[in-house]
């Protein structure tokens, strides 16, 4: 067994441990800088008060609310579209069309979000301005469909992947019994693969929360608490992106770390949930 602890293994081990430490390092950085704020017992204030630096209030509640609203709204649009598309790619379309569609969806994952947002800024925003009738046209409602378009390919690929993992023993049996394609999906594949659907939704929600450019360019960046989806709003990610506008010693700058911590913990707990549910469902088989 001595040989297995060779120099090469140590090299590989170092690389893996180093990458793992970086994950922790990102968290430690945010925590270290956010610590003075957390220690002073203002956490509840920071999380649940509004943002008005003039009055000495640096709460991130409006951003937190906007982030959650925007992510949920885009999920609401993206989920039905993604599940429909994955039905088509899994079974409904003729086999050649399926390949073309799958390749197209994979290429879609590579389209830069900044390009989507740039096109939408000059195409969708004027449309929304006329539709809403007031304001600049930049609102949660403008950003949500674009964000939905950004996260849809990820979800579709994940859904298709988990649908394809259903054992051919089931699908072939269903076909032999004379099922139509849609019956095969609804009564055989979906009951088998629904944990995959839940996991895909978790992944998609994480991506929606973490996206910066769409909300920064399309949601309007107003720091007020959004009262309707047609209001301009600033998400956590956009708030961090605008950090360079602040002085490095100011309270505004310090509240950024709380935003970063929030985002880190939210996405990490989504991932943890994702892992746990994957482990739980695969054990149940």
């Amino acid at each position: 067994m001595l040989r297995s602890y060779s120099l090469s293994e140590y090299t590989f081990l170092t690389a893996a441990v180093f990458s793992g430490m970086l994950t922790a390092a990102v968290f430690c950085f945010l925590f270290y800088f956010g610590l003075p704020l957390l220690q002073s017992g203002q956490l509840a204030d920071l999380l649940f008060s509004s943002w008005s630096p003039g009055k000495g209030l640096y709460g991130i509640y409006p951003m937190l609310l906007s982030s959650l609203t925007l992510a949920s709204l885009s999920m609401l649009i993206s989920f039905p579209v993604s599940i429909g598309c994955s039905f088509i790619i899994t079974a409904l379309a003729p086999i050649r069309l399926r390949r073309v569609l799958l390749a197209m969806i994979r290429v879609m994952t590579g389209i830069p979000t900044v390009v989507y947002s740039f096109a939408a800024l000059f195409f969708l925003v004027p449309l929304m301005r006329n539709l809403i009738g007031h304001g600049s046209g930049m609102s949660i409602l403008t950003a949500a469909p674009v964000l939905a378009l950004v996260i849809a390919p990820t979800m579709i690929l994940f859904f298709v992947n988990s649908f394809n993992k259903v054992s051919p023993r089931f699908t072939l049996a269903a076909e032999a019994l004379g099922c139509t394609k849609i019956q095969k999906i609804l009564y055989v594949i979906l009951p088998q693969a629904w944990p995959g659907v839940i996991n895909g939704v978790l992944l998609g929600f994480g991506r929606a929360m973490g996206d910066t450019m769409v909300s920064l360019m399309l949601a309007g960046n107003s720091t007020a608490v959004p009262e309707a989806v047609t209001d301009s709003a600033r998400t956590l990610t956009a708030h961090i992106a605008l950090v360079l506008a602040f002085d490095f010693d100011s309270m505004e700058f310090k509240s950024i770390f709380v935003c970063g911590l929030c985002l880190y913990l939210l996405t990490a707990s989504l991932m943890l949930l994702f892992r746990l549910s994957t482990a739980y469902f695969s054990k149940g088989r």
Binding site: S19, G20, V26, I88, V115, F118, I182, L216, M271
Partner: protein, 292 residues
């Protein structure tokens, strides 16, 4: 009743697909329609002659050349950092790691993959602040810092693709070389890695695409609107995605706007090109490398 539900869901699925494709093509067609006319040599080099610009004799002021060069440097720099660490980490996870450490590593890299890019950029910014306390005035956001942060962003993808590629190798192939007396390292470097090279390379190309498109990381770690051709690793630089963002909020006239659309088309082509290359490699590269 069931029949009706089934028909409805089928119809709904086709409508969903149609909506997705329509949305995608509307945005892209709009982009092409607005930006196609601005794509010419002047978009890249402005008033400077292309030869002078490429030889770095004269600075380019109103062209995309510095931004494209900046993006290329970013890609090369971050890949130089990320590929060795990522592939080595992936090899460790797939070939050496056993027992309780493995789920822990898996979870760590999942979390890292889920961390929003803006948070990675923020961590980079904080690093400069910490370093500035110890070496005042010497450390500022720069090209090297952006490369490191981008490398951190794509690291989990590289580790994951390498790990999955190695783990999915047929046990028959995995056991042949050791049976003939090869050491573990020889088995990895001469059998397992070459065998899964197409998956690893396409993973690397996907990661490259992410480096090229990511805006959030670089806007906190040193990208600026006008810096000229990047001259040093420790200087500020321009990059395509940030240029597009900058134009969208700061454009002064239709000419600049047209340049922004041109830049968006170029970035789109770059990313789609990289992705198509990755897909093509996944299909073709194996036969090319293994049976030459």
């Amino acid at each position: 009743m069931r029949k009706l539900v089934e028909t409805c869901i089928t119809a709904f699925s086709w409508i969903a697909l149609f909506l997705l494709i329509a949305a995608l093509f509307t945005l892209i067609a709009y982009l092409v329609q607005k930006g196609a006319s601005s794509i010419e040599l002047g978009l890249f080099f402005g008033d400077t002659s292309p030869l002078d610009a490429l030889m770095l004799k004269r600075q380019v002021f109103d062209g995309l050349f510095p931004a494209i060069a900046g993006t290329l440097f970013l890609i090369i720099g971050s890949m130089l950092i990320a590929i060795p660490i990522g592939v080595a980490g992936g090899v460790y996870l797939a070939e050496y790691c056993r027992g309780k450490m493995k789920p822990l590593f898996n979870l760590t890299f999942d979390i890292l993959a889920g961390v929003p890019s803006i948070v990675v950029g923020l961590a980079g910014l904080l690093l400069t602040i910490v370093l500035n306390r110890h070496f005042p005035g010497q450390i500022a956001p720069c090209l090297l810092l952006s490369c490191c942060c981008l490398a951190l962003l794509v690291l989990p993808y590289l580790i994951r693709t390498t790990q999955t590629a190695l783990e999915s190798i047929d046990p028959l192939i995995r056991k042949t070389a050791p049976a003939l007396g090869a050491s573990r390292l020889q088995n990895i470097t001469q059998v397992l890695l070459p065998h899964s090279i197409n998956d690893i390379v396409s993973g690397i190309i996907l990661a490259t695409g992410r480096c090229a498109e990511d805006t959030a990381v670089i806007m906190l770690t040193g990208v600026v609107a006008t810096a000229g051709f990047p001259r040093s690793l420790f200087g500020q630089y321009e990059a395509l995605p940030f240029y597009i963002y900058y134009i969208s909020s700061q454009y002064t006239g239709p000419d600049e706007l047209a340049q922004g659309f041109g830049a968006a088309i170029i970035l789109l082509l770059l990313c789609i090109g990289l992705l198509a290359l990755a897909l093509w490699i996944q299909r073709r590269f194996t036969s090319f490398l293994l049976f030459r």
